[in-house]
């Protein structure tokens, strides 16, 4: 994919396939204060799609709009079932059943053990027996390297483990699309690298789509195959495409500064 700034054309061109998420003319605001305007991009199935940008540019807000937590000021977010913010409650529920979210600090329910955290959506949305749910829980925990921690409370494990347990919970219902909010924030480099590996491995075996909000350059280049760059000054997206391509070809000085950690002025 070529880095282009005229992203609207690209979005409508790609819309002919069957994308995982399509965003058209999205504008986000808190009250009268516009954070980002005119976002247009497409997340293809199987992508690891990076939402990148400097601190405070609205990355996490965009994620909240994509998953249905914050209503956009204008524009549409399309899933396979239709426009997210125009959908009736049943469709909304169908969409959210297909998505899983890993929050910045894990957001595990502190009054429940790890197994109960994962079991909650399973017992609500599936007809599995207790024993089967227990088995699925220990499978998910084993997948994120937490085998044997079923009966621990979130307050009894470390921050990195909370994050992995959060991932296990996000995967509980075998979602098609997984959203990550700053997955490597607060992790040491080795754990962050392991998490990247885990994401790649999960993409490979689950064929799921990942949308990752991050400003961690190492992760961006290691896992991302598509991205948008949100520019904090112009308050819109100034580039999209494979991050490695962007680094090689983009002429945008802001983006270059971001991708080279400010080394190129």
């Amino acid at each position: 994919m070529k880095p282009v700034s005229d992203t609207a054309a690209q979005a409508s061109a790609a819309a002919t396939d069957d994308p995982a998420i399509r965003v058209e003319g999205l504008t986000m605001a808190y009250g009268d204060f516009v954070i980002m305007r005119e976002l247009n991009f497409v997340v293809q199935k199987g992508d690891i799609f990076i939402i990148m940008g400097g601190s405070g540019c609205g990355k996490s807000t965009l994620l909240r709009v994509l998953v249905g937590l914050k209503e956009p000021a204008a524009g549409k977010v399309y899933y396979r079932e239709g426009s997210l913010w125009d959908a009736d409650p049943a469709t909304r529920a169908a969409i959210s059943r297909r998505t899983g979210i890993l929050y910045q600090s894990g957001a595990l329910f502190s009054s429940m053990t790890l197994a109960e955290n994962i079991a909650l959506p399973l017992s609500q949305y599936t007809a599995l027996t207790r024993k089967q749910i227990r088995e699925v829980c220990s499978l998910k925990l084993a997948l994120v390297g937490l085998a044997g921690f079923e009966d621990f409370y979130p307050s009894e494990i470390s921050g990195g483990m909370c994050k992995r347990a959060g991932l296990a919970r996000a995967m509980a219902l075998d979602p098609d699309i997984l959203f990550f909010d700053e997955p490597s924030a607060g992790l040491d480099p080795v754990s962050a690298h392991l998490l990247d590996e885990l994401i790649l491995e999960l993409r490979e075996s689950l064929k799921a789509t990942f949308v990752v909000v991050t400003h961690e350059l190492a992760s961006i280049f290691a896992i991302g195959n598509n991205s948008v760059y949100l520019d904090v000054e112009t308050r819109t997206m100034t580039a999209s495409g494979d991050p490695k391509e962007l680094l090689a070809h983009s002429q945008d000085p802001q983006l270059r500064r971001f991708l080279t950690r400010g080394q190129e002025q």
Partner: protein, 384 residues
């Protein structure tokens, strides 16, 4: 996850077991998803238990049209069975995603000793634990009381560090914001006291003494107790929740590392706010209670309004008023201490904040009742 499209319902999960020449082959086919009923693994256990013991277990999944986590759990259970019996497993012909996920799940071994079994400790141990916990609680409370005393001394000598602007907000929250609920409850308590008294007293034609009952009861103790309980539920709980959340967010640690004493910075202003405002609220509650009695006296018992008020003024000794003020000041200290103590010792989770808030209200009310009893006995001894 995007796997082969969901097949029709007829495509039920199937698992065929074939054993030949020491090799057990499990052939999976059909759709293995959460909305299906899976075959039991008991048959696999029997096949593996057959003698002579099988040399190899082959999992073949070429015919699987759809799968999700449920299929993985069954494969894991079967592999665990085989491992138990020492039979090597060949999972090479499962769908590629399944194979790699199974490998991923097995990559990090189960942490030894991590799984817990809840064991009930012997009776004596539990009693000892309880005693130890209680002793620890008393120690913590004494610790906190000592801290507060030191902070109060620092305040008196003008060395206490806290934000004056925060104190103003806290005072506002503990007084003006509370007026509505204090008015309503005190007025109704006065009204109820008057009603209960009126029924008895009117039998003797002594209706006028309703004003005495309401006056003495409200001014001496009821006004203070009612404001105490209201403030325990409203402000004490808020203090516990606020400080508890600060504890969860590591804000209290941040204060400490900046060299601020959390007791001076957070507890003292709350304490000052409540200790200053509780007596004022108490006086206000006294007046509202007398108003409640006045309404019953004038409109139900047809007592002359001037006479009612004069009689209240004459029959309620001024000492009662001071006793009420002492009560309310003590309650202010107790409610602020209970709220702040529970907040500062809050566990680092949402659960902890909830427990701290509950404990703050329970402790405050308990302390109010006990303090009232002690003060009443003291007043008796002094003879007021």
């Amino acid at each position: 996850m995007t796997r082969p499209a969901a097949p029709p319902r007829a495509d039920a999960p199937r698992r065929d077991i074939a054993a030949s020449g020491g090799v057990v082959t499990l052939t999976f086919s059909g759709s293995w998803r959460m909305d299906q009923t899976l075959p039991d693994i008991e048959a696999v256990r029997q096949a593996l238990a057959a003698s002579p013991a099988p040399q190899k277990l082959v999992l073949a999944g070429a015919g699987v049209t759809g799968w999700d986590s449920l299929f993985l759990t069954q494969c894991r259970a079967i592999i665990a069975l085989a491992r138990e019996r020492g039979v090597p497993v060949d999972a090479g012909s499962l769908p590629p995603g399944v194979e790699s996920l199974l490998a991923l799940a097995a990559k990090v071994p189960e942490r030894q000793g991590a799984a817990r079994t809840v064991q009930r400790a012997p009776f004596l141990e539990r009693v000892a634990d309880m005693g130890y916990g209680a002793a620890q609680g008393v120690r913590n409370l004494l610790d906190f009381t000592g801290d507060v005393t030191l902070a109060a001394w620092a305040l008196v000598t003008g060395r206490a560090v806290f934000q004056r602007s925060q104190l103003t907000t806290l005072i506002y929250q503990a007084s003006i914001d509370a007026l509505g609920i204090v008015s309503l409850i005190s007025f109704l308590v006065g009204l109820i006291l008057a009603f209960v008294g009126a029924i008895q007293l009117s039998q003797f034609g002594a209706q006028i003494y309703v004003s005495t009952i309401v006056g003495i009861a409200m001014v001496r103790v009821m006004g203070a107790i009612m404001t105490g309980i209201i403030m325990a539920g409203r402000t004490g709980a808020a203090y516990a929740a606020e400080l508890g959340t600060m504890q969860v967010n590591e804000e209290i640690d941040a204060l400490r590392t900046f060299g601020f004493s959390p007791t001076q910075f957070l507890v003292m202003p709350r304490m000052i706010a409540l200790v200053l405002m509780m007596p004022l609220l108490c006086i206000y509650a006294d007046l509202m209670g007398i108003m409640g009695g006045f309404v019953v006296g004038v409109f139900m018992l047809k007592i002359n309004p001037i006479q009612y008020l004069t009689h209240t003024w004459q029959s309620v000794p001024l000492a009662n008023f001071w006793i009420g003020l002492v009560h309310s000041t003590v309650f202010g200290v107790l409610v602020a201490m209970a709220g702040c103590y529970r907040g500062m010792r809050c566990g680092r989770s949402a659960l902890g904040v909830g427990q701290a808030t509950t404990a703050a209200v329970v402790t405050s009310i308990l302390a109010i009742v006990i303090a009232t009893a002690i003060l009443t006995v003291c007043c008796n001894i002094i003879g007021v």
